[in-house]
């Protein structure tokens, strides 16, 4: 007998089952790098074929080629979802690079051309008695002027801005609050030269007075105010209502709740906002052109006589033909950038120090 009575032990065919978690082989780690090299190579070849090879163009062309190559390879090996992820990653990093490029370029150029002239002597001497073609002199008078003008602007804009923000967040209801918000938005968009012209016509022409540091500060405060209002408003809005209610329920009057509970809770953000508004106006040239006058001498008194300022010095020196003047302009620009940087670091430090801590 060729067949046995015993059941055959042939393994039964398992029905074809689709795994719930299909395994995918991830792209090997070296692959993106290899594709990047390939993309650069391809773009160089392409540009050679077109007869217009230069480095920046090669970089620009290789990015989309790289995205396409990575996308294709990934779609092949890993599936379309990961392929999309990789392509979007390339796009995001490219946009980041595009955004950071001008900033880096400005920074590097300014450091290259200004660093060597940024000496203690430069920071502690004025331009007094320095002829148009002479070497030497410094920007001490501009540093004094900028500090005083921005200080005056902050003295005007910060208290008003804080109070407007408190009004908008804590008290403002209805048409008046909407109108205030609207005009703050409009002020945000005011071109800086308009602020200067306003002070020029309203104060200098209106009262027949002469350019002084204080008028520059006034013009800057117009630009500063909306920034202070907006940032403070956002910060106050972030304070949870629970805290206001907790304080009110203790029988604390509303104004005291705002001063003692709401403001301290938001102080980190408020300080950051104020510092950013200072950084916003410290480099403004246009409002100062018509309002502070210009001088090569040190003038500590913002309320009497013309005053210099850093942006005006840059503007003035950069247009002179003397190479020494060009150097001074770059060094002044670098000083201004460093000032803004220091202000930002200080703001961050204060924000971190004052931020509510959990433990």
């Amino acid at each position: 007998m060729s067949t046995t009575l015993l059941p055959t032990n042939e393994p039964t065919r398992e029905p074809e089952s689709r795994s719930l978690l299909p395994e995918t082989r991830p792209l090997p780690g070296w692959m993106p790098w290899a594709l990047a090299v390939a993309a650069v190579g391809l773009s160089v070849l392409l540009l050679l074929a077109l007869g217009s090879l230069n480095l920046p163009l090669a970089v620009v062309v290789s990015v989309p080629i790289f995205a396409a190559l990575v996308g294709l390879a990934s779609a092949r090996l890993e599936g379309t979802r990961r392929a999309k992820d990789r392509i979007v990653t390339v796009v995001v990093y490219t946009c980041f690079a595009l955004a950071i490029l001008p900033l880096l370029s400005v920074l590097i150029t300014t450091i290259q051309r200004g660093a060597s002239h940024l000496t203690p002597y430069f920071l502690t001497h004025s331009q007094r008695g320095i002829g148009p073609r002479d070497e030497g002199g410094g920007i001490y008078h501009g540093i004094i002027g900028t500090f005083e003008q921005v200080g005056i602007a902050a003295l005007i804009a910060v208290p008003i801005g804080l109070l407007v923000a408190v009004y908008l967040v804590e008290y403002g209801r209805g048409a008046l609050a909407r109108a205030v918000t609207f005009f703050v938005d409009v002020m945000t968009g005011v071109p800086s030269i308009v602020a200067g012209l306003f002070v020029y016509t309203a104060i200098l022409l209106g009262f027949g007075t002469t350019p002084k540091g204080v008028w520059g500060g006034l013009a800057l405060s117009i630009l500063m105010l909306p920034v202070v209002v907006r940032s403070t408003e956002e910060m106050l809005k972030l304070v949870p209502n629970d805290l206001r209610e907790a304080s009110l329920a203790l029988g604390v009057p509303k104004w005291k709740t705002i001063v003692s509970i709401v403001m301290p809770t938001a102080i980190g953000g408020i300080v950051t906002g104020v510092m950013l508004s200072v950084a916003r106006v410290i480099g403004e040239t246009a409002p100062l052109v018509l309002t502070v006058g210009a001088t090569d001498s040190i003038n500590f008194n913002a309320f009497d006589g013309p005053q210099a300022s850093l942006p005006l010095i840059i503007y003035d020196q950069a247009f002179r033909s003397s190479p020494y003047a060009q150097d001074r302009a770059w060094a002044t620009a670098l000083t201004l950038i460093l000032l803004v940087l220091i202000l930002n670091l200080v703001a961050r430090g204060i924000a971190r120090w004052k931020a509510p801590k959990a433990r």
């Binding site: 209610e245 907790a246 304080s247 329920a249 604390v252």
Partner: protein, 258 residues
Amino acid sequence: MAKRIDVSGLNVYYGSFRAVEDVNMTIEPRSVTAFIGPSGCGKSTFLRTLNRMHEVIPGARVEGKVTIDGEDLYGQNVDPVAVRRTVGMVFQRPNPFPTMSIYDNVAAGLRLNGVKKKSQLDGIVETSLKGANLWNEVKDRLDRPGAGLSGGQQQRLCIARAIAVEPEVLLMDEPCSALDPISTLAIEDQIAALKEQYTIVIVTHNMQQAARVSDTTAFFNIAGSGKPGKLIEMAPTPKMFSTPSEKATEDYISGRFG
């Protein structure tokens, strides 16, 4: 200390919407009164009218009369700030002041009302934290931020903060709803102790909690969405949970609806 609250003909409106209709009740001093009822029936809204905290909400207003030991809460010359010093409040979510230490949180109500003397503050902070059953847990770290405590400890800190200003009445709006059972138990024990001194009104969604802590229970209900909430029945807690006189109360308590 503790005072009696009388409410008569009280309606609460949000704009033109009537949220609570015609409440009449008496809350006895040195007792715990629990408000129960389905969500949206106006019990929290009503609770807020007892210390005028509803006025913080734009558009909210009240008709009717609330008196505390005969004094009209809504009288012409009554300052809401003074009302809130007499009638304290603890909220649903623990809300210690994030910029302040444990000590400063408890002292906040007094400091912001002008008490400056260190020795006086020290004493009150200690008594309040003991009253909130938190002293032993935090006495060695009074200078640490209040926000660093656990949820249950934070809520007890908020209770300590509320009793530090020595109110007559303490309103509690679902004080345990964000807490675990052990913290809840700690707070319930504390409510039992606090009632020796204060009149306590507590809103709760937890019927066992109402049964455990309260002397009197008030049941609020709502006929449907868009309709105002009403006080259905108010009676001593044992009676409410055994032989309520209203069918709706029985249905709600036995879990047949809501």
